[in-house]
């Protein structure tokens, strides 16, 4: 269930903050694992990972390693962006429905890909010089 790790030769443009609670997600991602939280009471997954269950408000959750496969619900190519993202323009982002039932939004990775709604995709780790980001690429 491990994910491909693709190196990127610069720092993340807008690095995420890591909390004591979300640290396992970011550590896992750095190593090519996609982890999120599952409620120990109602059994539902959440993403982004949360220290409580938003569905039933139970406060005990556990970390779970999940398979990276899914489908592209939608995508776009961004040509106008904030100043710090200008070196990347245009760049692509998408919404992915994972086979595990989670929907998430992330960057899309790949050159000259003919992105299409509902195409099969898989999650990968983009390994920047200062840390990882989650992305999707054609399956």
């Amino acid at each position: 269930m491990s994910m491909e790790i693709v190196s990127v030769a610069h720092e993340r443009r807008y690095p995420p903050r890591v909390t004591k609670f979300t640290e396992p997600f970011w550590r896992g991602l750095r190593e090519g694992s996609f982890l999120t939280t599952r409620c120990q009471s109602c059994g539902r997954l959440s993403f982004p990972p949360k220290p409580l269950c938003p569905h039933c408000w139970h406060d005990q959750v556990s970390w779970e390693l999940l398979p990276p496969g899914g489908r592209l619900y939608s995508w776009t190519r961004i040509h106008a962006g904030p100043a710090i993202f200008e070196p990347d323009l245009p760049h692509e982002v998408g919404i992915v429905d994972l086979a595990c039932g989670i929907r998430l939004a992330c960057p899309l990775q790949g050159t000259a890909v003919d992105w299409q709604c509902d195409m099969a995709v898989r999650l990968i780790t983009l390994s920047y010089t200062d840390g990882p980001l989650l992305a999707a690429t054609p399956a």
């Binding site: 106008a80 993202f85 998408g94 919404i95």
Partner: protein, 397 residues
């Protein structure tokens, strides 16, 4: 009898570029513009100044130097109040919340007359710098903003999905931009009034694919004032007024990306809130004569008009193309020119929509008047922020 609220006066400056740069010799300041509008709108309403006991101000953009803007405006206009003096903020709903809270003040009996004010200045800040702030409004700031999402990229995601599911093209949806520019040509408050062709829309540079420059909102500044009163006071004044027949709100408990997959282009909040507003007014969507929507991009007018039941699902683009949603059509939508042509000073935009509908329902629409307009839909919906606020308005002439 239940207390009801009415719109009795409005004023606004034409949407445009007013914001000055720091080095300019003479600066434009928000309060000078807004104070003049208050006096104009109060004159329009014929209300007595002493009846105003509540002022609700849409929080200005962070670029506005004057802070604590509501008490400052109350001071600038020497208006002591016993109801409330406050600023409100809530995404693109911000000015709609000012209108809604002004109505509440009247309905609660705290005042006979309430002012809803908004001023939005941002045009001198470049888009690339403006987006440094607005990117933090997309999804989770730690899990989504690092991917470089921009607010309008979410509408592009909606559009890709809509085109995929309903087998319509970018050109079909771009008919909305052409139609709304034609409307804007008839509106003195509109920022862009020269007619545009479908070819011109399609040949603009891409912003967020498939949306190009003319399919997304322009940058602009604006300010507006709406005077709300009790129905009794409006009747006492003996002038044409606009009754607020019903109001509804819904938020899905989801902020842009929901980890539980839903139909993103159904705009469930808009469906639920519009149905609730119709029910409370005892009407259906077929009774609406004219509608103003908070639709920053062409695709949003399509999705929102479908969600409100004004056109059937999957037919929103065709309705614009065929003239169904144009002036003179079955259900004119965005007679003001909409957000792509009248302009989109975001934290004031919902009040501009109120101004347009108040004009239509008081027979002041000029060349863009919808004949015999009796009932109007005001819908402020937040796309993938999954909230919608709806008011049904009624003419009393």
């Amino acid at each position: 009898m239940t207390r009801r609220a009415a719109i009795i006066g409005t004023s606004a400056i034409p949407v445009g570029r007013y914001q000055t740069k720091p080095g300019d010799e003479f600066q434009v300041v928000e309060h000078e513009l807004l104070a003049r509008l208050v006096i104009e709108a109060m004159r329009d309403s014929h209300a007595e100044r002493s009846r105003v006991k509540s002022i609700v101000v849409a929080q200005p953009r962070p670029y506005t130097r004057q802070q604590y803007f509501s008490t400052f405006m109350a001071s600038y206009l020497k208006l002591p109040c016993s109801g409330i003096v406050m600023e409100v903020l809530g995404n693109g709903l911000t000015a709609a919340l000012a209108f809604d809270k002004a109505i509440d003040e009247v309905l609660l009996g705290r005042t006979e007359v309430a002012l809803a004010l908004a001023v939005n200045m941002e045009s001198a800040v470049s888009a690339r710098d403006h987006m440094m702030e607005s990117m933090r409004k997309t999804g989770d700031v730690d899990f989504h903003a690092p991917a470089g999402f921009t607010p309008i990229s979410w509408y592009a995601l909606d559009m890709m999905r809509y085109m995929h599911e309903h087998k319509v093209t970018r050109a079909d949806i771009a008919a909305v931009a052409v139609k709304n520019r034609r409307h804007a040509g008839l509106n003195p408050l509109a920022q862009y009034r020269q007619p545009i062709s479908l070819e011109e829309v399609l040949s603009q540079r891409p912003i967020v694919e498939p949306l190009g420059l003319y399919e997304v909102p322009p940058r602009g500044d604006g300010a507006a004032c709406v005077v709300v009163a009790s129905e009794d006071y409006a009747r006492h004044l003996g002038i044409p007024f606009v009754l607020v027949r019903s109001r509804a709100f819904f938020h899905e408990g989801a902020h842009q990306i929901n980890d539980t997959p839903t139909d993103m282009i159904a705009l469930d909040a808009a469906v639920i809130a519009s149905r609730a507003a119709y029910n409370d007014a005892g009407i259906g969507p077929q009774d609406i004569d004219v509608a103003e929507l908070y639709a920053p991009c062409t695709i949003v007018e399509v999705l929102a008009s479908e969600a409100a039941g004004l056109v059937s699902r999957g037919r929103g683009a065709h309705a614009a193309k065929s003239g169904e949603t144009s002036l003179g059509g079955r259900i004119p939508i965005s007679t003001s020119g909409g957000l792509t042509s009248r302009g989109h000073p975001s934290y004031a935009t919902p009040l501009y929509n109120v101004v347009e509908l108040a004009d239509q329902l008081r027979g002041r629409g000029g060349d863009r008047q919808v004949a015999n307009a009796e009932l109007a839909l005001l819908m402020n919906e937040l796309g993938n922020y999954n909230a919608a606020m709806v008011h049904v308005l009624e003419a009393h002439r």
